[in-house]
């Protein structure tokens, strides 16, 4: 490992004694969560707080002819019934486009629909009452006249001239199209010995965060300030957008994130009903609480991954992959989501297909079309699962066609570990990846040859097990290249302020946020390690725009790499400042001193010189005893933004081992393995747990999850009995291993790891199923792999 040091006398944190970096330490402050004493937004109560329930359209597409709330307004406990028109006086509409996604177009979206609803579940009125139950009673009494319109519900025909236009002013139902063509694709295919083509079909998914979306908006008219309590991943973004659309200054808006019951990207977007809640608070001059119920969550939380992707691969008999080609179609909702846009997922698919491989020839077309279904946007591993499933599915097909082992074909085509830095055929710059080392490690961990032997033996007894491998790359630590360049006010930098308090403890304020992945812990680990204090002394404050530096928050696996580096740099400055004061007090030189275990000590012999607690007492209460001219500064702030690489790519490889009951179509996931290279690991257990959680979300996609819409645009399985999420009974144990290639962009060297599990899990399972079913000459290229699908492929039904 190579490390950068800014100054020769500064030890890199990774070498410091008692460093927490690289250590599995339990996260601090878990007790409150385990005792049921957390504070989730859904737990919050404020004086005079009222509850909003939204009346939602039962139609996928309809004109709003009339709304009569007379009866509803007179019902017990009802504070107000507000329509889209009334709310439009308080909050302006928005359009989800970014300028760097050329050609992306969308229509203005209001907080509450005006004149027309465009998906089943879109809010048409807000009922505010003293309790959720009373508001729901009143919702039933609101009379709405709809004129049902034809709904666009099939992405395959969305661009047909005969299909109605959802937004006539846009000219067609195409939100975005991207074409990419590099190398000599046609020539490469013609030089291939085998060309395989398949259409991959993915189910529409949603996050199903256990705590639904929840907001408490509190407009204090006397202060002219709006406090928004929300489980958002990006509080400064919410602050900016709420202020902008409500006609306020950012400094008038405070966003506070309490404990968040799961997000995974679901809570990083701007939702119409949440914007409506902010506006309602301003209108009604009292706190308003919105907590989506589970049915609402299914109908209005962003969906994701609704793709049909035609993939093509050309391969030579010697195993060399000549070219990849994809034609991807995705059907979003009637609006591109705000502000991150619903084109990013398709854009990622184009960027990431073929990423691990040396192939130089690639052509891609991705089209994003509007539909009258729920809105769609970034959800954990954005686009990666699609790209990985298509790529790895094609690679396995190619291997099968030429009679090569799936491991062997990967060995012949993965970018060599010593080829870096280099670029992929979609123009992505790779600093340092480790595809081969990771694959080697994976094969050892899973005893690949042993499993193949077991597979062969069991096949003779008509027991069908399969092995599936999936290599992948992952986008982490994004720079402004993701959103900022397109005009979005989404920060790609983060900041950390650290200070020594009057008792010698450390208070740390960071702009990254916590949803359970361990942001608080890694910040404390880094700061404690750099400063030389014990972790118990470090208190981390996050999720409050009034009390943290300005930053991007936690999403796209950027918390550790970017927020962590800011913490490291800030702590370095604080350490230097402390030693400057200590040197003055002790009549020594800063270079002769270090901080170890909460005490300033001699670097030479480790002898303790002064406790931090004592130093703090002097600085804060007895500066009269300091040498003349000294102005101690026991607080430091540093920000960090990636400058060299637009994204810090990581890589990994996953394997699935499963058994398919060919009589019933049911399958058992026996085991799963992941080898992940995410650079410097701050807390091994937290990284592994992120990977496991991510894998299981991917397994959910592979086996269970699918939003099922009918032709009229009705979501027919909007509850937890019918939309199946993975539960403990069906999930395998997951072994995780690592290769470590730190990034040189930062001293910490950490890349991201939050989404790797989800990126490759479904691909590994799909490949394993097809591997298991090899004797039956059938290839399945759709997920979810429900028993119905498997039996149909086997020709049993």
């Amino acid at each position: 490992m190579t490390l950068i040091s800014a100054k020769a006398e500064t030890l890199s944190v990774l070498d410091r004694p008692n460093s927490y970096i690289g250590k599995t330490v339990p996260r601090p402050n878990l007790d409150r969560l385990m005792q049921g004493r957390g504070l989730y937004v859904s737990d919050m109560e404020l004086p005079r707080m009222a509850h909003v329930v939204f009346l939602r359209s039962p139609y996928a597409h309809a004109r709003l002819v009339a709304i009569d709330a007379t009866v509803a307004k007179s019902m017990p406990g009802v504070v107000a019934v507000v329509t889209g028109e009334e709310l439009a006086n308080i909050i302006t509409p928005w359009v989800g486009v970014l300028s760097h996604l050329k050609g992306l177009k969308s229509a203005p979206q209001h907080a509450i629909a005006i004149d027309r609803v465009c998906w089943q579940g879109e809010a048409v009125a807000a009922v505010v009452a003293n309790s959720r139950a009373l508001a729901e009673d009143a919702v039933e009494a609101v009379e709405v006249q709809y004129e049902e319109l034809e709904a666009v519900t099939d992405m395959r025909t969305a661009l047909d001239p005969r299909t109605p236009l959802i937004h006539p002013s846009l000219g067609d139902n195409l939100a975005f199209e991207r074409i990419h063509d590099v190398g000599l694709v046609d020539q490469a295919f013609s030089e291939s010995d085998e060309v395989v083509e398949k259409e991959f079909i993915f189910g529409r998914h949603t996050g199903v965060t256990l705590e639904p979306r929840a907001v408490v908006a509190d407009w204090n008219a006397a202060d002219a300030r709006l406090a928004i309590y929300q489980g958002t991943q990006a509080p400064h973004m919410v602050q900016n957008i709420a202020a902008f659309h409500l006609g306020l200054q950012e400094s008038q808006v405070r966003v506070v994130c309490k404990d968040v019951g799961g997000s995974f990207g679901i809570k990083v977007h701007i939702y119409a009903d949440e914007m409506a809640t902010y506006a309602l608070s301003k209108l009604l001059r009292r706190p308003i609480k919105f907590v989506a119920d589970r049915v609402e969550s299914f109908n209005t939380d962003i969906h994701a991954r609704d793709h049909r992707c035609k993939g093509r691969i050309g391969v030579r008999r010697d195993g060399v992959i000549m070219a990849f080609e994809i034609d991807d179609l995705t059907g979003i909702g009637p609006y591109s989501m705000y502000p991150r846009t619903s084109a990013i997922e398709a854009n990622q698919v184009v960027n990431l297909v073929g990423g691990p491989y040396v192939t130089k020839n690639y052509r891609a077309r991705a089209r994003v079309v509007f539909q009258n279904k729920n809105v769609m946007c970034q959800y954990r591993a954005v686009g990666h699962p699609i790209a990985c499933s298509v790529t790895e599915g094609l690679v396995d097909l190619a291997a099968m066609k030429i009679g090569m082992d799936p491991v062997e074909i990967r060995r012949r085509n993965l970018i060599p570990d010593d080829a870096y830095p280099c670029a992929s055929f979609s123009g992505l710059r790779f600093e340092k990846l480790s595809h081969h080392a990771s694959l080697d490690k994976l094969l050892a961990m899973m005893s690949y040859d042993g499993l193949r032997a077991e597979q062969a033996a069991l096949r003779k007894k008509n027991i069908h097990r399969g092995i599936g491998i999936a290599s992948f790359i992952e986008v982490t630590n994004p720079s402004a290249a993701f959103y900022g360049v397109g005009g979005a006010k989404i920060s790609s930098q983060d900041g950390v302020a650290v200070r020594l308090d009057a008792q010698g403890a450390v208070i740390c304020q960071t702009s990254i946020t916590e949803q359970g992945q361990g942001s608080e812990s890694i910040t404390a680990q880094i700061v404690a390690s750099v400063l030389g204090v014990s972790m118990e002394r470090v208190r981390v404050i996050l999720g409050d725009t009034d009390n943290t530096p300005y930053g991007g928050g936690t999403w796209a696996s950027r918390g550790a790499g970017i927020g962590g580096e800011a913490a490291l740099q800030a702590a370095k400055i604080l350490r230097r400042n402390i030693l400057d004061v200590a040197a003055a007090i002790l009549q020594s030189a800063p270079a002769e001193l270090d901080i170890v275990d909460n005490i300033v000590a001699n670097t030479s012999d480790g002898a303790p010189r002064i406790e931090l607690k004592e130093l703090a007492r002097i600085v804060y209460f007895r500066p009269d005893t300091l040498p003349p001219g000294i102005q101690p500064e026991l607080m430091a702030t540093r920000h960090f933004v990636p400058r060299e690489y637009p994204f810090a790519f990581t890589n990994g490889v996953q394997a699935s081992w499963l058994e398919v009951d060919t009589e019933t179509g049911f399958m058992r996931l026996l085991k799963h393995w992941v080898v992940e290279d995410c650079g410097t690991i701050i807390n091994p257990q937290l990284v592994d747990e992120q990977i496991r959680g991510g894998v299981v979300q991917g397994l959910g996609a592979a086996l269970f999850e699918k939003c099922i819409y009918d032709e009229r645009g009705q979501l027919t399985n909007a509850n937890m009995a019918d939309y199946l999420v993975p539960m403990s009974g069906e999930m395998p144990d997951i072994d995780v291993g690592h290769v470590v290639s730190p990034t040189l962009e930062s001293e910490l060297g950490a890349k991201g790891a939050g989404e790797a599990g989800t990126a490759g899990a479904a691909a590994a399972v799909a490949n394993a199923v097809n591997d298991a079913l090899r004797p039956f000459n059938t290839i399945i290229k759709e997920i979810a792999l429900i028993p119905q699908v498997i039996l149909t492929a086997l020709g049993r039904i």
């Binding site: 878990l30 969560l33 256990l210 705590e211 019951g261 589970r294 496991r692 539960m727 403990s728």
Partner: protein, 161 residues
């Protein structure tokens, strides 16, 4: 008869007298009337397990039982189990193994895990997974939770021996 009805019950060992509407379910009663917000609401149709509490010493879904039905009963929530120390070792195991991330499923998960451990001193991983199969977790992928429950079972056996 849709007027509030009087109920008298014990919650975490404390006597509670209240007047509640018939339609108020136990989860909402605990959260909104008693401000015991450790019992979480995730689906309100009995599927996710986030609202799991103990009524008369048996785990139930608080969203599927009316507050009026608990008249005369004894209810224990995660706050009570924590304060009595009953699940202290389980919580320690959860902490050490990071068997929680966002924490939203955790109260219900601890309830279900403790329920299992009271019935089976040496549960296999399969049995643990089966007993927890009605508690949804989106963050952990379950393995850490199974590890923590297994470790607690082992250490309880060790202490009992």
């Amino acid at each position: 008869m849709t007027a509030p009805l009087p109920i008298s019950l014990h919650v975490n060992g404390e006597r509670v007298d209240a007047h509640v509407l018939p339609r108020l379910n136990l989860a909402d009663f605990l959260r909104e009337h008693l401000h015991l917000t450790g019992t979480h609401v995730g689906c309100e149709h009995g599927v996710c397990g986030a609202c799991t509490v103990r009524v008369n010493d048996e785990i139930v879904r608080a969203c599927l039982i009316l507050a009026v039905q608990t008249d005369g009963m004894s209810v224990q929530t995660i706050e009570g189990l924590s304060d009595s120390g009953e699940v202290a070792d389980l919580q320690a195991a959860f902490r050490n193994r990071n068997a929680l991330q966002c924490g939203y499923c955790t109260p219900g998960m601890l309830m279900a895990a403790q329920d299992l451990l009271r019935q089976h001193g040496e549960p296999s991983r399969e049995r643990i997974r089966g007993h927890l199969s009605g508690n949804y977790c989106r963050c952990t992928g379950y393995q850490a939770i199974v590890d923590a429950v297994e470790a607690t079972a082992r250490s309880r056996r060790g202490r009992a021996a």
